[in-house]
């Protein structure tokens, strides 16, 4: 016959209730800890806009910048109070900025689908739709054939001296896409002369540049 060496009396109803409550409190504490850890991880993780921001490739006036599907060189900038395009004159409440660029497709036909000016506060002024743009949004670029033309913007006069141009081939959504960015060297004297000009400026057509490449 086996001898019983230890013996514990079964828990009473109060003990069983306390044990059950402790177990539930433990589960609750674990849940709260899991949510807290999840919150910490989430707060330390970059948001989707940061994670998927464009790959901005910067250059200077006259330098070739790689925008993945095309290469581009910003050549010159001019401005005016009024512009003429296809026989129509357009005025603005700010100032027109005309950026002359040379672009060439790299491997397959493409186009400059996105063009914007970025001011010192990070605000984006997209290329105007008040005229038919000669180069941006529509002109197809062929590999190895450089095209030169102007891209036209309107901006408030106050921001005209602190602008960079941004160019990409994707028209709407530049997330995780290459974007070429070039600061425009515009000073207050240039802006003043643009505003003083009484004659409207004619927007130049885009033309194929023979015998030149962007580099």
């Amino acid at each position: 016959m086996t001898e019983v060496r230890h013996h514990r009396a079964p828990r009473g109803p109060v003990g069983r209730a306390l044990a059950g409550l402790g177990s539930r409190l433990g589960v609750g504490a674990l849940l709260i800890a899991a949510v807290a850890v999840g919150g910490l991880v989430k707060s330390a993780t970059p948001d989707a806009d940061t994670r998927e921001r464009p790959f901005v490739r910067t250059g200077r006036l006259g330098e070739t910048v790689d925008a993945r599907t095309f290469e581009v060189r910003v050549l010159d900038v001019r401005g005016a109070k009024e512009i003429v395009r296809l026989g129509r004159t357009r005025s603005t409440g700010g100032v027109w900025v005309l950026v002359r660029v040379q672009a060439v497709a790299r491997n397959e036909p493409t186009s400059i689908g996105y063009a914007a000016l970025r001011d010192g506060r990070g605000r984006l002024f997209h290329a105007t739709e008040r005229i038919r743009q000669p180069l941006a949004r529509g002109r197809t670029l062929q590999p190895g054939i450089p095209v030169e033309g102007e891209i036209v913007f309107e901006v408030p006069v106050e921001v005209a001296t602190d602008l960079s141009i941004r160019l990409a081939w994707v028209p709407i959504d530049q997330r995780m896409e290459a974007v070429a960015e070039v600061p425009l060297d515009i000073d207050a004297g240039m802006v003043a002369s643009w505003q003083a000009r009484t004659e409207p400026v004619t927007v130049a057509d885009a033309t194929v540049v023979t015998g030149q490449v962007t580099r």
Binding site: E52, T89, G93, G94, L124, F125, H126, R130, P156
Partner: protein
């Protein structure tokens, strides 16, 4: 000892409230249903645009363009719109809606009361895009069936949007177009 489901539900609700309290609590819900009224010619400051409705009228025909169906007329609202957001905007068809105009020919698709056309007062060109800090006076056009009398007064809703994270993409976007203010404007006969 098994808890009754009702007690478990109450406990779960209390736990959820407690946990949400640890992380800033639940969002407040604006239960206000009354739309603010703005006087004609007064700016309504909002996001992503400030809007000043300056007048309203109707015309059976205009020099530059006619209604799609002969005999119809244009209801016209003039407004100064200034983009307050950080980027040029091309959703100008969301800026205004008509509340009380009946028999509009184009119902605006999924957004009743949306205008049919928008022109720049500056040069009569189609207004496709406005830029930050560059206010422009725009003409908004709605085509109304000719069989209906033009309203004597237009109730014009100024629409606003909220910049928030899109729950589908996780990206910040301007979403939730909602009326933010109401403008009542007498309707003038523009052909006389």
């Amino acid at each position: 000892m098994a808890l009754p489901p009702r007690w478990m539900g109450i406990g779960a609700a209390v736990l959820a409230l407690g946990v949400s309290g640890l992380f800033g609590g639940l969002d407040e819900v604006d239960t206000g249903t009354e739309l603010a009224t703005v006087e004609l010619g007064t700016v309504h400051t909002g996001e992503p645009w400030n809007v000043t409705v300056t007048g309203a009228g109707f015309a059976d025909e205009l020099e530059s363009f006619e209604p799609r169906t002969p005999g119809n007329r244009w209801l016209v609202v003039a407004a100064v719109v200034e983009v307050t957001g950080e980027e040029s905007r091309f959703d100008l068809y969301d800026v205004l809606r008509l509340r009380n105009a009946s028999d509009l020919v184009s119902q605006g698709g999924a957004f009743p009361g949306r205008p049919d056309r928008i022109l720049l007062k500056r040069d009569g060109a189609e207004a496709a895009r406005l830029h930050p800090d560059m206010p422009e006076e725009l003409y908004f056009f709605w085509e109304q069936a000719g069989r209906t009398e033009p309203p004597r007064e237009l109730e014009i809703e100024i629409i606003g949007k909220t910049r928030r994270v899109d729950t589908l993409t996780g990206h910040m976007q301007w979403l939730d177009p909602e009326p933010r203010a109401l403008v009542r404007a007498p309707v003038k006969d523009l052909t006389s």
